[in-house]
């Protein structure tokens, strides 16, 4: 087999290059948009499965900042640099990494347009754009407001902004967190964050409090979180749900107030996690539905709305599978197999997937949820009898083991994807 990675040579920004192929002779041309856990994984897996494939990864940022464990940065236990990865290993594997945003997709002509105006032709397009924050969804919360009331729901400068606000908060201050309705990225993430913030406050600002204003009554691992909060943090964390009237309806960034249907709370630090939707390029590609997310055929992750486009990771509607880094990676591996097979004219595989998700209530106190999933006719379903959360009565040793597993899980996954 001849390596066809040379059909596109792109050696950095500003290099003029024509991405229009001269003919359709080149078989197996895949373009991936988005270099997170889903996109970087699928690009690398495609090359691993068939190094004759031409694989381009379009990702605006040269450095990726991973979300899992970023709450440990907020809590002061990790540096943001420990969350950061380059795409050098992907390039070394023969993935054409293009650090530019994709600005348009033409599914009819199978063309992706980059910011510099060049276009890429594809046989299969894999979209892994992750989430966009919905700046229209919450009154008073836009990009400017986020500079004062960080969301920190995309790891990076927002993460360190929230950490720094906590560090400079007045003694005895109130941290208010706003949590949206599902679906959103990382279902247990807000509660892990509240835990690690409480841990920081307990050490450094013991009279301070965390108030969680939640738009729902149930959340991932709720009983485990509630009991751990009580035993580790006493009354530092107060959680209010939808039934308490805690749905946040508006914020005021200048005054740092957060309003629910029934009251307005004065915060010292406010962490606003707004409603979310699939990343913008998914909307431009026409693969989102009215929900703002991307419907897919479960077996192959192919879009139900556009041909030859697959959607994986947080942007996809994977039903029972949560929007987690583990799920994104698992979907990517499966999607790579399916795309490889489809390009070879083979039928797709009916495969099962796993999700495992750890939450750190403290650096040495971890809890987990796991699930095994299978594709049904229309949706991904969880296999009954499998999966579930850590036992409620587990020992502190088990919690410590799970905390250690969380860190090793992160190291393993980031090694596979980026190292």
């Amino acid at each position: 087999m001849i390596s066809r990675r040379n059909w596109i040579r792109y050696s950095g920004a500003g290099v003029a290059a024509s991405f229009i192929p001269t003919s359709h002779a080149s078989q197996g041309r895949v373009v991936v948009i988005g270099g997170g856990f889903a996109g970087a994984s699928v690009a690398r897996e495609l090359r691993r499965l068939n190094n004759a494939l031409s694989v381009s990864l379009i990702e605006a940022n040269a450095i990726y900042t991973a979300c899992p464990l970023s709450n440990m940065v907020v809590g002061g236990h990790r540096k943001i640099s420990q969350q950061q990865f380059s795409y050098a290993a992907l390039s070394a594997d023969g993935v054409n990494v293009i650090h530019q945003p994709a600005v348009d997709v033409d599914p009819e002509r199978h063309l992706v347009t980059l910011r510099d105006g060049n276009t890429l032709n594809y046989e299969k397009l894999i979209l892994a754009p992750g989430i966009d924050l919905d700046w229209q969804a919450l009154q008073g919360y836009d990009k400017t407001a986020a500079e004062l009331l960080p969301h920190a729901w995309k790891a990076g400068p927002q993460t360190t902004l929230l950490r720094d606000q906590l560090r400079s908060m007045r003694e005895g201050g109130l941290v208010v967190m706003s949590v949206p309705k599902s679906p959103y990225r990382c279902p247990p993430g807000p509660y892990e964050r509240a835990s690690l913030i409480a841990g920081y406050l307990k050490q450094n600002n013991p009279r301070a409090k965390v108030l969680i204003l939640d738009s729902k009554d149930s959340f991932s691992k709720k009983p485990l979180f509630l009991s751990a909060w009580q035993s580790l943090y006493g009354d530092i964390i107060e959680w209010q749900g939808e039934s308490d009237g805690a749905t946040v309806t508006a914020v005021n960034a200048e005054n740092r107030t957060v309003s629910t249907d029934f009251e307005t709370v004065q915060a010292d630090v406010a962490n606003i996690i707004p409603p979310q939707k699939a990343g913008k390029i998914a909307h431009l590609a026409g693969v989102t539905d009215r929900s703002g997310w991307c419907p897919i055929e479960p077996v192959t992750f192919s879009s139900t709305l556009q041909p030859d486009v697959h959607v994986i990771g947080d942007a996809a509607i994977a039903n029972a599978m949560p929007k987690s880094a583990f799920a994104a990676n698992a979907q990517a591996k499966l999607c790579a197999v399916q795309v490889t097979r489809l390009l070879n004219g083979e039928s797709p595989v009916h495969g099962k997937l796993i999700n495992t998700c750890y939450s750190l209530v403290a650096p040495d106190y971890g809890i987990s949820v796991a699930g095994v999933y299978q594709p049904g006719e229309k949706i991904w379903t969880e296999i009954d009898g499998a999966g579930g959360v850590s036992p409620a009565d587990a020992s502190r040793e088990t919690r410590a083991v799970e905390a250690a597993y969380a860190q090793r899980w992160f190291d393993n996954l980031t090694t596979q994807v980026f190292a």
Partner: protein
């Protein structure tokens, strides 16, 4: 008496349209669920909500099991005269929960 939360202005100008929000703690048990032993859990719901403004009904709601637990109902009322806003929930056994708020109405500007 159930626990209720009301959001309504204490003061308004005559003619002003006031937002009213109500929330009451109630399971709204549908009657369709079964417990862990497989026995049907009997229906237990609020069936009616009413808002009276100086004794006059201005908003009523008929509720069925498909209203979510801890019913939340928001609506509007036009401010007319100072007086009393009453919020009345009635369950399927005619048990009543009543909450009252005083309202001061200033003349229109």
């Amino acid at each position: 008496m159930l626990k209720a939360r009301i959001s309504v202005p204490a003061r308004a100008r005559q003619g002003e349209i006031m937002a009213v929000k109500t929330l009451i703690s109630h399971p709204m048990e549908t009657g369709f669920r079964r417990n862990s032993l497989g026995q049907a859990i009997p229906r237990d719901i609020l069936t009616r909500f009413e808002c009276r403004y100086n004794e006059k009904p201005v908003f009523t709601a008929t509720l069925h099991p498909a209203v979510a637990a801890n019913p939340f109902i928001a609506f509007h009322v036009r401010a007319q005269d100072s007086g009393k806003l009453e919020f009345i929930w009635t369950d399927q056994d005619d048990q009543v929960t009543r909450v009252t708020r005083e309202l001061t109405v200033d003349p229109a500007a």
